[in-house]
């Protein structure tokens, strides 16, 4: 089973205080970039893999989706998602994405925000996602960027000019990475960007957009403390069509 770190009380407490937890989608700095990759949602059937508190599920409904299924492994998150969603067209279900079974050709959009880097057998999940999409359906997801995830010791240092520098190593050695983020011993699965994209291509997806996300210059002007986040990408955003 996927490491269910979101049901670790220490992690959940910390996660619940992040901007993206308190403010929802607009509290996530990368949201505007992800939203730009979304297809028209009106009349569409949507699955959200790793739905957390349900912010995106509710957004999809507001944008006109007719049926939204949110899946998450965290009971804590699902409880809050259910408590804050009063909409019969949104269904939340507990599921381990490593094992999740989806109905065939049942969705127009599969969406996932920052969940895939926890998955050990991503090939198998993406095969099931491909089968679950209608022809022409879209997969839009974010994942921690491999540059962000690869290092044995992720953390900033300064180069000889005092410029923030990210210490990349282990990039080509794929596998688990253990870090302390909100709780000790959070395990993520590092894959190169090439591996990730080739998995998608191999299952028959057509890549539509690949974005290595960091804050825009406008965002840094508004949040000067984010400047170092432009030194290396934090997230990878991908849009693909079946």
């Amino acid at each position: 089973m996927t490491q269910n770190v979101y049901d670790n009380p220490e992690f959940f407490e910390g996660y619940s205080q992040l901007g993206r937890s308190v403010e929802g989608l607009d509290g996530a700095a990368e949201w505007a970039s992800i939203r730009a990759l979304l297809p028209e949602l009106k009349g569409k059937r949507v699955a959200d893999l790793g739905c957390g508190f349900g912010w995106f599920c509710r957004y999809a409904r507001q944008a006109g989706a007719t049926e939204v299924l949110g899946f998450d492994v965290s009971q804590n998150m699902l409880a809050r998602a259910r408590a804050t969603t009063a909409d019969d067209a949104v269904t939340y279900a507990r599921a381990d994405l490593e094992e999740l079974e989806l109905a065939k050709e049942a969705f127009d959009l599969v969406y996932s925000s920052l969940a895939f880097h926890y998955i050990k057998n991503l090939d198998a999940l993406l095969a099931r996602v491909h089968a679950a999409l209608v022809p022409g359906g879209r997969l839009v997801f974010s994942i921690e960027h491999p540059i962000y995830m690869a290092p044995a010791h992720p953390g900033w240092s300064n180069d000889v000019d005092g410029r923030a520098t990210w210490p990349v190593n282990g990039y080509l050695d794929e596998g688990p990475r253990t870090t302390d983020w909100l709780a000790k011993g959070v395990v993520k699965q590092h894959r190169t960007m090439g591996t990730l994209l080739n998995i998608l291509i191999g299952f028959g997806f057509t890549l539509l957009h690949v974005e290595e996300w960091g804050p825009s210059l406008e965002q840094v002007a508004a949040h000067p403390e984010w400047a170092e986040e432009r030194e290396r990408p934090m997230f990878l955003l991908v849009s693909a069509r079946k």
Copy 2:
């Protein structure tokens, strides 16, 4: 015009002594990976952008290509290419890739090895490459990896465990990078991987394979001094179909 560093005597002298210059394609550690991306060449028309000494042009002919055009900006390299090619079906021409005009739908394969990172207006070049390919034609190229190119101070240091570490910064700030490699002041153009892939997608290419190249474990076993090259990718290899 593109910086013509290959006609700098100091650079040319150094470059001429590299394995890939002396031994040809098999002297380039990434060649086996690139070769695996090539389509069947028998009966095909091929353009090589940045053909250097002509090693790939001659290879393409041996593999059955009927017509091969090699373009390079370096007079030194073209002189040697011509002196070492006795084949009427191979034509070498001096061209600045920033300005190169290619006949429409005239090629089945456009190939380029480690030249695109010198190009300022890569959008314009790739638009012309797309137009020059027949429908279904292939673009196969290598380029220095953005992780390799981005840093203000590219060079290894060690992390707290003594592991080789590559100092990434400036990744999201695209533009020129000046380094000293074989000669002082070699200028390359840094773009993110996302930008590069989105240019291709935007012109109508379908991405077939994206490989962040470093030596394989087998290559490191044979060349232990290459081990650190697995800590971050050195090259990016891309195959795309029109």
